[in-house]
């Protein structure tokens, strides 16, 4: 039961109304919702592109789409799904849920998170406008040189791809820093690290992976732009450049990237299983250690994308071993999940249905992954539809199915309404059946010799039936997605009203109203266990004493979440939006001329000055110079007496 929110507190934390007001929002719930809606929009576009591909491939020697457009479509499909949908949607969930789950009133660096949204949106617009202008990238989502070098791709297409990377990586890196800081510094008192919800662990681990992986693709894509714009020779063989170095750099990012997508999915799975089994996740420590070790090991696998290049056998064997061994932590999680279900009291609501779908599909995908880790087998099925099948089984099974589970699970929290159980079952059935019909035949197609990225195939190959089947499956998936959209929109206005905690779950986001008030928690909670709503004693303290006339947030210690100090968070601001505009101008300009960087830097600098310049003298809540005595303690000073019960 939630406490009635104090109107003054609500006013303090309110984001401004209106269109201009919308540009100034810094509330993590608002930005999180935008992320989810926008990323889902990109998912729909990526899906339409996939549908076009499936239509073209449904018959041999088909002339629905020619090679040039097909190459643009498959490149844009992959680029959209990986960079504009999969990572942002998981980060969007994090932006919305992590502060609530750790009991905080805000995400750390709210303006930075707002800025990151604009970079995602403008990057996506940039890509799709380019596509419509026949300048969409057409050399694959991984853009291998020399094909991506100016000699073989003289148009702007590869530059669009490389700069899209810059947009999305800036956005993702910013969110990763914000999420890590939120979890380290803004947790509810009592939420020690071993009481962190597994979903939050997954988000933190993912964010660290982002920090270390994304620089690799940023560096590589910048070097590609330089090769194309100012004549450097990073990847151009004529002058000592190296085509393989691109692959090393790209896949050093690319392999962790898939774990960046998958690990938040496992966080969702742990959460939903615990709630609907009505017990704590079995094996909290092994599950957390599995997340961490998966993240570490994920950085040691990248060469398995290069097994066909003829690298020395001993080196390849190491990567086979690592690629096979990463199944161990993943398997550990799966066994712990099954153990949780086994010993729990299952309620088979729609979110749980998606989790069962995840198990079925992901297990298959994981097993084909082990097969792909074996170098000899890899050299046969690499770059065939077998890999297309594998990657969709692990990504759709491992991330999209949990994501739909997450939609059904957290939709009531975000909107205050419940989605329809009946329609949800239909969506699941359509997507599950459609998915398997689309992608299972592709395993066979790959084994029967069908390579990837081909805009057509001869009738004599005998691939037609399976391709037609796959295309029919895609149609079913489309129906499932449309049904979901209908339900999502309809429920917002006519769905059953949700209580604070319709699933009787244990984590802190359910300790406040649905949707949460502007301040998240009128009285921020404290935690006495991993599922505070289940574990907290009835008289568990709530936090009082934060200011209600300013955006006052409690900052706690990294390890034990003891209260340390308070901090006034920023007011809504137009500067993240303006900086986003200025940065977009710089990025787009600079694919046409290097002077774009020089001239574009000026407005970016000015926007950032505007961002950081104090709007009010006392906006930080500390005294103005000259002041008699300091109020802020030194690094090693104990905080002033606080935390009295």
């Amino acid at each position: 039961m939630s406490v009635g929110s104090d109107p003054n507190l609500e006013q303090t934390w309110a984001d401004p109304p209106g269109v201009i007001g919308w540009l100034k929002h810094v509330d993590h719930k608002s930005i999180g919702r935008r992320y989810l809606v926008t990323a889902f929009g990109f998912f729909l576009i990526g899906g339409i592109l996939a549908a076009l591909m499936r239509i073209q491939l449904s018959r041999p020697d088909n002339t629905f789409i020619g090679p040039d457009l097909y190459n643009e479509i498959f490149t844009t499909h992959g680029t959209t799904m990986m960079f504009l949908f999969a990572v942002p949607v998981m980060q969007g969930l994090g932006i919305y849920l992590v502060p609530l789950m750790v009991g905080a009133r805000s995400i750390a660096f709210p303006r930075l998170v707002a800025f990151s949204y604009w970079m995602l949106l403008f990057g996506g617009i940039f890509l799709f406008v380019s596509f419509l202008l026949n300048a969409g990238p057409d050399v694959g989502w991984f853009s291998y040189p020399p094909l991506a070098e100016p000699l073989y791709t003289p148009s702007k297409r590869a530059d669009v791809w490389a700069q899209l990377i810059t947009f999305t990586e800036v956005a993702s890196l910013a969110v990763a820093v914000a999420l890590i800081t939120t979890v380290l510094k803004l947790r509810a008192p009592g939420m020690t690290l071993n009481r962190l919800p597994i979903f939050v662990w997954a988000q933190v681990v993912t964010s660290f992976m982002v920090l270390f992986a994304m620089p690799a693709v940023m560096l590589a894509s910048t070097e590609l732009i330089l090769d194309r714009l100012v004549g450097t020779h990073f990847f151009d063989v004529e002058h000592g450049g190296d085509a393989l170095l691109w692959q090393h750099l790209f896949w050093f990012f690319g392999h962790p990237e898939v774990y960046i997508i998958f690990i938040p999915g496992t966080g969702i799975v742990s959460t939903i299983i615990a709630t609907f089994s009505r017990r704590h996740i079995f094996g909290y420590l092994p599950v957390v250690l599995s997340l961490v070790s998966t993240a570490f090991m994920g950085f040691g696998l990248w060469v398995h994308h290069m097994f066909a290049t003829g690298l020395p056998q001993l080196g390849e064997s190491f990567f086979t071993a690592a690629s096979i061994m990463i199944a161990i932590p993943t398997g550990t999680q799966i066994f712990c999940w099954i153990a949780t279900i086994w010993s729990g009291r299952l309620s088979l609501k729609t979110p749980m249905l998606w989790i069962l779908g995840f198990f079925t599909i992901f297990v298959v995908g994981g097993l084909t992954g082990v097969m792909l880790a074996a170098v000899p087998l890899n050299t046969q099925v690499h770059d065939t539809f077998f890999v297309v099948a594998h990657l969709h089984y692990v990504l759709i099974g491992g991330a999209v199915f949990p994501l739909f589970g997450a939609f059904y699970y957290w939709y009531p929290k975000i909107t205050g309404r419940l989605l329809s159980e009946r329609l949800g079952t239909w969506v699941f059935a359509l997507l599950f059946t459609g998915f398997n019909l689309t992608f299972f035949p592709m395993h066979v197609l790959g084994l029967r010799g069908m390579p990837r990225r081909v805009y057509t195939y001869p009738a004599s190959m005998g691939w037609d039936t399976l391709n037609l089947l796959a295309s029919v499956g895609a149609l079913l998936m489309a129906c499932g997605v449309i049904t979901f959209l209908v339900d999502a929109v309809h429920a917002m206005y006519a769905g059953p009203v949700a209580t604070d905690n319709p699933w009787d779950a244990g984590t802190l986001e359910w300790a406040t109203s649905s949707p949460p008030p502007n301040s998240n928690f009128p009285r921020p909670p404290t935690a006495a266990g991993r599922e505070p709503l289940w574990d907290n004693p009835p008289d568990q303290p709530v936090v009082v004493g934060l200011r209600e006339d300013a955006r006052d947030v409690l900052v706690t210690h990294v390890l034990d979440a003891e209260p340390d100090h308070r901090l006034i968070f920023p007011e809504p601001s137009i500067w993240p939006f303006l900086t986003g505009i200025a940065t977009t101008v710089l990025f787009v300009w600079s694919i046409f001329t290097p002077w774009g960087v020089v001239y574009g830097a000026g407005p970016v600098f000015l926007a950032m000055v505007g961002w950081f310049w104090p709007k009010r003298p006392d906006e930080g809540g500390t005294p103005l110079w000259p002041f008699a005595r300091r109020t802020l303690p030194r690094p090693d000073e104990a905080p002033a007496a606080g935390g009295a019960i």
Binding site: P215, I568, L624
Partner: protein, 201 residues
């Protein structure tokens, strides 16, 4: 939840210094990201080195040692006013902050100026071959950092002079000095690679 018990945090200070701050961890995140970029660029340098029969290739002379070494001295020297500014900030000593930030900026002008000479004496253009490209991007990446560090320190220093100077701004100064440390210390391996790797291999 029954709210009969409360945890009253009104007595807590409205901020703090050092690793207790939210900003520190944001800065640390930036440091991790940029360190990874540098590490990957340096690894790429050695990747190319292993693929060429001689290094620098084509009989190109290695970058002139003088300006790089001079700049290393200036950069390391800048750590002194940087540390003093940081301590002044922790002491909440506005006068000290103003003085030492200005000295820092003087050093920054110096190392940005000398950086131009470094570029002019690399003895290779970026579009000559892969060696030229990797040397220019290594130096260029670090230059982006010294330029932006100069600009944001200049803005912060201006703010400390013209005000309004809230106590929180001293935390900003302290955090800025943490980032300055990173920019200078990150230079050392890059200096070693650009200037000494071609001489020692």
């Amino acid at each position: 939840m029954n709210e009969s018990r409360t945890l009253d945090v009104s007595g807590l200070p409205p901020g703090a210094f050092g690793s207790r701050t939210v900003t520190f961890w944001g800065t640390l995140g930036m440091v991790l990201i940029e360190s990874t970029v540098f590490a990957l660029a340096i690894t790429s340098y050695f990747y190319y080195l292993a693929r060429f029969p001689s290094w620098p290739p084509d009989g190109i002379a290695p970058p002139l040692l003088r300006w790089g070494t001079v700049n290393t001295v200036i950069l390391l020297g800048s750590l002194i006013p940087n540390e003093l500014a940081r301590r002044a900030a922790e002491r909440v000593d506005l006068q000290g902050v103003r003085i030492w930030m200005v000295v820092c900026l003087a050093f920054a002008v110096g190392f940005n100026w000398v950086r131009v000479y470094e570029f002019r004496h690399l003895n290779v253009w970026w579009d000559h071959d892969a060696y030229g490209s990797i040397v220019w991007i290594l130096l260029g990446l670090h230059t982006t950092h010294i330029v932006t560090d100069f600009l944001d320190s200049a803005v912060l220093t201006t703010l400390m002079f013209i005000g309004p100077v809230e106590e929180h701004r001293f935390v900003d100064v302290e955090e800025n000095s943490v980032y300055w440390y990173f920019v200078v210390l990150a230079w050392l391996p890059i200096y070693g690679v650009i200037y000494w790797a071609p001489r020692l291999t």
